[in-house]
């Protein structure tokens, strides 16, 4: 009864569309006000002169010139790309193994869900705390050095463990591997098990099944996880700052230093450059797979 009541003059498609619009309106508004406009403001501030919290509409490329011509910028990006690459490889290898173990090797579904949650719980706790929890382990007097010395494997404490690229990458892997596990876990869970039988019957060895069946079918998960990990590392603020012992900066922590000294236009130009580079990287990765199809339809 109720289902057939419709406002006169509105076709079913139109009324369905109106309903959809009404339902996404809050989401669209939040994203417009707190993502689109702020990014536009960043762009505006980056190309205009800026004085006393007021944008003076005098177009200038000075801010970009100063960002792009600085050697510091280049070395910051090179450092971050290196760290992102190392983190990406580690999270991919660990994430793929963990997901494969949970999906293909744990027989009970309930146990698999429990173990999956075990991996997820730390994600719901403070990242800053998880990062500093490496300090008592990696330090000169830390657990790892003490254990290695006690076992007689080394005579001197290892210096490279803390306040180095090593400790930075360890922290990234600690914080971000979950972003690789979840999408790959998802993709693996959707694989039809009868494909393995088919591959076996067609004479494929185990490694061939992995290479030609599992890997192509989990490509979407790998792509999504890679986007998350790479963008998280490139946008990192505090890990490089703390885990490198305050000597290194990340692209973003350099922006923070600009903001602290009220160099808003310079920070904005630097932010715009970062956004452009990240967009290009994500667009390049996205060419490999249709993410919307993977995420929205659920299969």
């Amino acid at each position: 009864m109720a289902a057939t009541v419709r406002k006169p003059g509105l076709s079913p498609i139109m009324s369905a569309r109106l309903k959809s619009f009404a339902l996404v309106l809050p989401l669209a508004l939040v994203l417009l006000v707190f993502v689109v406009v702020p990014l536009a403001v960043v762009l505006a501030v980056s190309v205009f002169r800026y004085d006393n919290f007021e944008v003076i509409p005098a177009f200038t490329f000075e801010n970009y010139q100063s960002v792009l011509s600085s050697h510091l910028t280049l070395s910051l990006y090179l450092t971050m790309l290196k760290l992102a690459a190392m983190t990406w490889i580690c999270t991919l290898l660990i994430g793929y193994s963990v997901a494969a173990f949970l999906v293909f090797h744990v027989r009970s579904r309930l146990v698999a869900i429990g173990l999956f949650l075990l991996c997820t719980v730390p994600f719901w706790t403070s990242n800053v705390i998880r990062m500093i929890s490496w300090l008592p382990l990696l330090g000169k007097q830390g657990v790892i050095n003490q254990a290695l010395m006690a076992s007689g494997l080394i005579q001197e404490p290892l210096q490279f463990l803390l306040f180095s690229d090593f400790s930075v990458v360890v922290s990234y892997v600690h914080l971000f591997t979950i972003f690789m596990i979840v999408p790959i876990f998802n993709a693996m869970s959707r694989i039809d098990r009868s494909l393995f039988e088919a591959a076996h019957d067609a004479g494929a060895a185990r490694w061939q099944t992995v290479l030609w069946v599992v890997l192509p079918l989990t490509k979407s998960g790998i792509v999504l996880g890679s986007i998350f990990v790479v963008t998280l590392v490139m946008g990192d603020f505090y890990v490089v700052k703390v885990m490198s012992g305050g000597t290194d900066a990340s692209v973003v922590s350099a922006m923070y230093d600009d903001i602290s000294t009220l160099l808003f236009p310079h920070a904005a130009a630097s932010a715009a450059v970062l956004m452009i580079i990240l967009t290009a990287m994500v667009a390049a990765i996205l060419r490999l797979v249709d993410v919307r199809k993977e995420l929205v339809s659920g299969r």
Binding site: V24, A40, V41, F237
Partner: protein, 282 residues
């Protein structure tokens, strides 16, 4: 024959190899966290690393009574209400968005990529943008305005992606059946859709609360002159070199664990009741 080989009735070496990686990963994940919880319970002579010197609550006392942080209680009195508001809004907006995204509508593609952009955009860049936007329009940044919006830009993509996964398994025939039985749209929503989706909505609430409670980069330039808990922790990492920072870690992680436990417990309880009622009908 072939099947018994494939379904791994005998555990092959890949099971043990991947199992070893899994165990190592879990140790890697929890080991350091356990270390700082232990170190936070040291005696007054304790330092930043092992061995532990005595056992006491000295550093918690130092943290709370002596005010080793600037304003921990004040930060908590902002962070917790903020997390609750973000949680409620994330559940409502994600649910509505998830319902809408079941069908294509003009602009759905753009909006979807906007959601992804909001997720992968560097948090601090958004933080700067929102802070500048508020300054330009002459508003003061505050935890319940600018920081609230900034955190929603982080929690909503997660909420929405979870809703997509949930609706992927949700059949429209429930709604049709409800309508055929004479329920109006609100009744269908409240009496049929929401109860079925409840476990998923609790999961979204869990993400909403914890991601807000621990959010740092997006909040930094948007919370105004008053700090939230992660910013207190951050400023402690810059200038406190005593185990009271570990005590703060233990405290705030404990609160997160309570929230996680309650949420997962509620989901498990609902699922169990469902299984029970299905079995009872037979």
């Amino acid at each position: 024959m072939a099947q018994s080989k494939l379904s791994a009735d005998r555990r092959g070496w890949p099971f043990y190899a991947l199992g070893a990686v899994f165990v190592a990963y879990v140790v890697f994940l929890y080991g350091p966290m356990v270390c700082i919880y232990l170190l936070s319970f040291q005696g007054p002579q304790g330092g930043l690393s092992f061995p532990m010197r005595g056992v006491s609550l000295h550093w918690f006392d130092q943290l709370i009574e002596q005010g080793d942080t600037g304003d921990l209680m004040g930060a908590l009195s902002r962070s917790i209400p903020l997390a609750l508001i973000v949680m409620a809004l994330t559940v409502l907006i994600s649910l509505a968005g998830g319902l809408a995204f079941r069908s294509r509508f003009p602009g759905s593609g753009t909006l979807f990529y906007l959601v992804i952009a909001s997720l992968v955009a560097p948090g601090y860049v958004l933080s700067i943008g929102i802070g500048l936007m508020f300054q330009m329009f002459g508003f003061e940044t505050n935890w319940y305005t600018s920081a609230l919006g900034a955190q929603l830009s982080w929690t909503l993509p997660f909420g929405l992606l979870i809703m997509f996964a949930i609706f992927g398994r949700f059949s429209r025939s429930y709604e049709e059946a409800s309508r055929d039985l004479g329920a109006n749209q609100l009744q269908t929503m409240w009496l049929v859709v929401v109860p079925i989706l409840l476990p998923g909505m609790i999961a979204v609430a869990l993400f909403g609360f914890t991601l807000s409670y621990d959010e740092f980069a997006r909040t930094l330039q948007t919370t105004g002159s008053t700090n939230t808990v992660p910013i207190e922790i951050w400023s402690m990492t810059q200038n406190v070199t005593s185990p009271s920072i570990y005590a703060l870690g233990t405290l705030t992680t404990g609160l997160s664990f309570v929230v996680i436990g309650v949420s997962l417990g509620a989901i498990a309880l609902i699922q169990r009741r469902r299984l029970g009622s299905v079995a009872g009908q037979e």
